[in-house]
């Protein structure tokens, strides 16, 4: 019992700097990586990211890391590995065997710091398994990536890790609201790094935005490293969570960018000049023609955006009859002109009276 008590206390008060949790979301969209084949092959990118992970772990003994792959149709844990699923007993057994084999070959290397070797092992093994289980049909089915799912899992994991770290007080406040966490900077410093290669994520708009706001409430910055493509939502997400958004022009220098821009955690960033975004595109796409609008029309019931008032003023999403207000009304007619017209009309009527006679 005494021993247990002792360890608890050691964990409770941290002498060193506060540990940080780095959560990497790796976009493994096969289509996008195929396009990058000549400039930055996938294997090279992984090697660079592993160096970055090692650097993060070397900064502080208590630092943690987690990696998740956002694949074409699912998001998969790379590190830490999910506990084996009892339903697919055979599968996991072979997996364990494989791991054991690689374990013995790789981990026995005395010149390597053991945590580095462990992560490398697990990550590469999971990646191989992921690539092996991806069928051609899977790749053909979609050209996108499951970014929203990966973000959701990342935030759930961070939430749980934060609760576990605080432990006390977790019972009273399961969800740290903006007010609660404003004063205390202590506790686990978590951040998400999205290594993104895919372009359009339009159909995941709502879940991605939900995760962005959740990250903002947890005060978790969502750093974006864009290797290819351009996603407005991720740009907005980085801006909302006060994180770094970098679009690389020179892909060979990816490690340099990782080290310089993304290694410092939130506490360190306060003292650094971090890269900022020049212009953030906050314009919205209308629901009717998918065109980007500056001034739009919004349905007050379902908040759908339209570029022009929909036909018959009926909302296309919720089918409500909408009142148009003053929109489209002609400007007031100047009375002077009316008078002239009246005179003209009078003249006309005087002329018109004989008309029936003529008829």
């Amino acid at each position: 019992m005494d021993g247990v008590d002792g360890t608890d206390r050691q964990e409770g008060k941290q002498d060193g700097p506060t540990p940080s949790l780095l959560f990497i979301i790796l976009d493994t969209n096969p289509h996008a990586w195929a396009l990058l084949q000549n400039t930055l092959p996938f294997s090279k990118a992984i090697a660079n990211i592993l160096v970055f992970i090692n650097a993060h772990l070397a900064v502080n003994n208590a630092n943690q890391v987690a990696v998740i792959a956002s694949h074409s149709q699912r998001s998969v844990w790379l590190y830490p590995r999910p506990p084996s699923d009892p339903q697919h007993g055979d599968d996991s057994d072979t997996g364990m065997d494989d791991e054991n084999k690689t374990d013995t070959s790789n981990l026995s290397d005395a010149s390597k710091y053991r945590p580095f070797a462990l992560i490398e092992n697990s990550l590469l093994h999971s990646l191989r398994k992921l690539i092996k289980t991806t069928t051609e049909a899977d790749i053909k089915a979609t050209t996108s990536t499951q970014m929203a799912g990966a973000l959701t899992m990342a935030l759930s994991y961070i939430n749980k890790a934060t609760i576990a770290f605080l432990d006390t007080g977790a019972a009273a406040k399961p969800t740290p609201t903006a007010l609660d966490s404003s004063d205390k900077a202590v506790g686990l410093q978590s951040r998400i790094l999205v290594v993104s290669v895919s372009g359009d994520l339009a159909y995941q708009y709502i879940p991605i935005m939900n995760s962005t706001f959740a990250a903002q409430r947890l005060r978790v910055p969502m750093d974006i490293l864009k290797l290819a493509g351009d996603t407005v939502f991720l740009q907005q997400a980085a801006f909302t969570t006060r994180a770094v958004y970098l679009q690389l022009k020179n892909l060979q220098g990816v490690l340099q960018y990782l080290m310089m821009a993304f290694l410092p955690d939130q506490l360190a960033r306060k003292h650094l000049v971090v890269p900022t975004q020049e212009v953030v595109d906050f314009r919205a796409a209308c629901f009717c023609h998918r065109s980007v609008v500056d001034v739009g029309f919004v349905c007050s019931i379902c908040l759908s955006i339209f570029c022009t008032p929909p036909e018959g003023a009926i909302c296309l999403t919720c089918e409500t009859q909408l009142a148009l207000g003053d929109y489209g009304n002609k400007p007031a007619v100047i009375p002077k002109k009316k008078k002239k017209k009246k005179r003209a009309l009078d003249g006309g009527s005087s002329r018109a009276t004989p008309a029936p006679e003529a008829a």
Binding site: P86, L179, F213, A214, T276, V280, D294, V295, V298
Partner: protein, 447 residues
Amino acid sequence: MSDSDGEYQASDDGANPNEELATGTTTKTGKQRAAWEGVQRSWAAVLDSAGDGSIDSMVQTLRESKQRKRLMKDTTPLQRGIIRHLVLILDMSFAMVEKDMRPTRQLLTIRYASEFITEYFEQNPISQLAIIGLRDGVAEMISVMGGNSTDHIEKLKLQRGKEAAGAPSLQNGLEMSRAQLFHTPAHGTREVLIIYGALLTSDPGDMHKTIEMLKKDKIRVSIVGLAAQVAICAELCKKTNHGDDKNYSVATDDHHFRELFMKLTTPPITRTKEQSQASLLSMGFPSRISGAGQTMSFCVCHNKLCSGGYLCSRCQSKVCSLPSECPVCGLTLILSTHLARSYHHLFPLQNWAAVSWKDAVRSVACYACQSPFLKLSKAKEKETEIEGMVKIVESKIVSESGRYACPVCRKHFCIDCDVFAHEVLHNCAGCQSDTRGLADESVEFAA
């Protein structure tokens, strides 16, 4: 004696007495008991149901049941008034000096009110708010109708130094809020929220006439009482909410008070067509300019020098913060993210169901956070505890296996992820992260 027995029974079921009492006593049949009479004897529940089992696990189960109770909401997507106009009326009469809530009712109300304001604008980014105080028989404007949360909170904080005194007047407060809500557009909601500590109101005229006027103006009134039920408050809420009496509640303690207060940050349900007229609003979506390396310029909203800002998409004048109305051309300026913030009210996440042991073997760890679940074999060792929990488990609120399943993707999650997903994230990790199986499963269901 029989009275106390009945109450003992109630806490046995693991039901949270606050929950049912919050809805008011008028609907109850049989023994009439009011909210403030209920005392929750948490120790009795623990001793009775845990028996000789460990109290820790019992406390854990009780905590879970409390959390889950809060989550169990109606998830049918209802039409809600997303664009809100709310007047917050705070009682600042002699009754608020009482110290039954620490430090005093007055200070606690101000603290919770500032939390409420932050949360209100987080949940309803394109809404407006005003604050009125009831002191010395008159209604006092604390903060006029506006959409900036920091302005409201600053003005509210000034009230901390002022002593609560005199009698409150509900009628004066309501008439003033009617005046505030008079100019608000018809497509938004018109709401009044009253935090009322006193058990009386000293009014200059006929209160019932005011109620009729409120009804005519389509204003809905919600009241959180701090002491006891007051008949006029109940009538006021009922009449202005189409006969629904759920909007009047009395807080039993400070936790309950906060809970009731925060519940009102959710946009209200639209009941009738008259309550909100749907209309098409013209809005501008400006792009942000970061003034890095450029000369600073004045913003039109505060006349202050600042570097960054947003240019109005119609008249190109610079405003420094959004959402706001362009002071030059009157166009409502928002970011598309502000609209996205309200989407989760329109597409709520379904409640997750508790998983029985029979089904629990499918998973060993939470799908979202990978924390391991309790195994059945291990759980059987602790059978005594489980027997104790049965009473709470039977209510289908707490899962006996510690697993909760999403009805759509049927993945299992832990209680922490359940709470987090429903209160903060509004996403299901399972549904979002695996689209492979969907086609196959639909085939399975069809077959």
